[in-house]
């Protein structure tokens, strides 16, 4: 996506715009400056972590030492679909209705 090298101190507005677009966020010019500063601070912190030597450490995504539990393959029907549909911004009969998506 983009690289934040050690020498680079601050994200550009273009980079913030790209991240915003991926998250479907609309930002003002003022927002861009604010988030460029905040995101840069986050990345600087990660950069500090990068100084640690992790050569012999297994990549870890979780702090827990247990594996994922399993569920048996048995159907348990959920019956409150009507509630789900009611909570949607729009519905038509049993469908969720959304603005037209070009196929």
């Amino acid at each position: 996506m983009f690289s934040f090298s050690r020498g680079k101190m601050k994200l550009t507005h273009e980079e913030v715009k790209k991240i915003a677009r991926l998250a479907r966020l609309q930002l003002t010019e003022a927002d861009l400056e604010k988030y460029a500063t905040q995101l840069s601070a986050v990345l600087s912190y990660i950069e500090r972590l990068n100084q640690l030597d992790t050569a012999n450490i297994e990549p870890t995504a979780h702090a827990f030492l247990v594996p994922t539990p399993f569920r048996e393959d048995k159907v348990k029907p959920y019956t409150e679909q009507e509630l789900s549909l009611q909570n949607a911004p729009d519905r038509e009969g049993p469908f969720f209705k959304v603005p037209k998506v070009i196929a």
């Binding site: 996506m1 029907p77 959920y78 789900s84 729009d90 009969g93 049993p94």
Partner: protein
């Protein structure tokens, strides 16, 4: 210039589990829209995915059957993108550590055997379905979303770019499908989308090593389309290269009406999925004991079965490969041979007649009205002289259309062979009288004309005359 196609496949297979991958919703096809949804597969806040054990077992089966190494500790990752039929805003998949890695499948093209490498098999969830036209009102102003399929378990199998022709592509896909179906983990139905295929293809000058820029052909849902699309794409890329132009790396779709592949007009920015490990799911750990247990439970796989059919029934490799294309077909063959032990003959009738009737669609075997008993009985009736070989085809056709045993069909349709000498002699007399020139030639030494006369008698008896008897009677009369 002469180019060599370099092809790799990504195949998505829907797993035949009762429930979805991370929730207890049913995977049943044809339910009311959104009937099989719950807070987990709808991506509502505050819920957690719980992995279906069967899904893991099925993926391991696929991995073992394709000679993959099973990853003892694999990791689920989020693939982030926005689309209305993806309620969470991300798809749970596997990225850096897939459950199966580095395997191969053996294919046969002609008499050549070849190994196609498997890069990886990973687990993921399917998306829902967006309808761009309302199924009842035919309106177009919106999109309608059905999330019954969202969260159904898939395995995605990525091949190495080892494939070199459309023929090899189809052979690979057929073999892979046969393996999945024989494992009982996927129904293999391409038209209904249980098996979906993306094809990556590039060209390089023959004799060179470096890969060219590739195009990805998405959502190929039939063998015919794949063959046509690849032929088109190979031509398209070759003419561009010959003209000194470059290939754009892009996704293309096959348009069967126009017979062309079309660019999907790639959006300005390339997709950026920002994969990262899913914090909601702990690592997937599988034990050696479990893997051994699954390995022991594997059924006879298509390659082993093909070799056995060649050995036990003296079939040709070609026939054996066709008959092991699906478990239903091989079972049909073996049951028929039990009842009618001339294996080669049974194989021919199944390949030439039975497969023609079901239009080569092996998924129709389970529902067809023809049984191995019917085929065996029909062949016995041919041997007994009750019907001729050509009438036997009609008999199978009639059974296929409206059911009933061969004897009942023969009686009902009046198909029994005419072995009544009197009736045949009358027909022969008429024909001799009507064709004095040919009779003269035959008598003059042109013995090949016997076929001409037999044909006329057959025609007169609507194909029901006993060919042996006709031959004998004709020779008597003409000789």
């Amino acid at each position: 210039m002469n180019y060599e196609p370099v092809i790799g496949l990504e195949v998505h297979a829907q797993l035949l589990t009762e429930t979805k991958i991370f929730c207890a919703c049913s995977t049943r096809f044809g339910s009311r829209p959104n009937e099989n949804t719950c807070p987990v597969c709808l991506g509502l806040p505050g819920v957690l995915p719980v992995l279906n054990k069967k899904v893991v077992e099925y993926a391991i089966r696929a991995g073992l059957a394709t000679h993959c190494a099973i990853t003892r500790k694999s990791v689920f990752a989020r693939k982030n993108y926005f689309y209305p039929d993806l309620p969470k805003g991300y798809q749970i998949s596997q990225y850096e550590l897939p459950i199966c890695q580095k395997g191969w499948i053996e294919i046969e093209v002609g008499t050549q055997k070849k190994r196609i490498g498997i890069t990886r098999i990973h687990l993921e969830e399917d998306a829902g379905k967006s309808l761009h036209e309302h199924p009842k009102t035919r309106q177009h102003g919106a999109s309608w979303v059905d999330l019954n399929r969202a969260g159904v378990a898939l395995i995605e199998t990525v091949s190495e770019p080892d494939i070199r022709s459309a023929e090899e592509t189809v052979a690979y896909l057929k073999k892979f499908r046969a393996i999945l179906v024989s494992l009982g983990i996927c129904d293999g139905n391409m038209e209904e989308g249980s098996l979906r295929c993306d094809v990556n293809i590039s060209l390089r000058p023959v004799g060179t090593e470096k890969f060219g820029t590739r195009a990805e052909l998405k959502n190929m849902n039939s063998f015919k389309h794949i063959e046509k699309a690849l032929a088109y794409e190979i031509n398209r890329q070759a003419s561009l290269l010959d003209a000194g132009k470059t290939i754009t790396q892009e996704t293309r779709l096959w348009n069967d009406d126009l017979g062309v592949t079309e660019s999907m007009r790639s959006k300005e920015e390339a997709f950026d999925y920002r994969y990262f490990p899913d914090p909601d799911l702990l690592p997937l750990v599988v034990s050696d004991t479990w893997i051994t247990e699954i390995e022991k439970s594997l059924p006879e796989l298509p390659d082993a079965m093909r070799d056995r059919l060649i050995r036990d029934y003296q079939l040709t490799p070609y026939d054996a490969a066709i008959l092991t294309g699906s478990r239903d077909l091989s079972r049909f063959f073996e049951q028929s041979v039990q009842l009618y032990p001339e294996a080669k003959k049974v194989a021919n009738w199944i390949i030439n007649e039975f497969l023609r009737l079901i239009e080569g669609d092996e998924s129709r075997i389970a529902g067809t009205k023809i049984t191995p008993q019917h085929l065996a009985k029909t062949l016995q009736l041919v041997d007994a002289g009750t019907i001729s070989g050509s009438v036997a085809k009609t008999v199978l056709q009639k059974i296929f259309e409206s059911g009933g045993g061969p004897e009942a069909v023969i009686a009902r349709e009046g198909l029994a062979q005419v072995s009544d000498t009197g009736a045949l002699e009358a027909a022969i007399a008429e024909i001799i009288a009507a064709n004095p020139d040919q009779v003269a030639k035959y008598k003059g030494g042109n013995e090949k004309l016997i076929g001409f006369f037999v044909g006329l008698v057959m025609k007169k008896t609507q194909g029901r005359g006993n060919p042996g008897l006709i031959n004998k009677l004709l020779k008597d009369k003409l000789g």
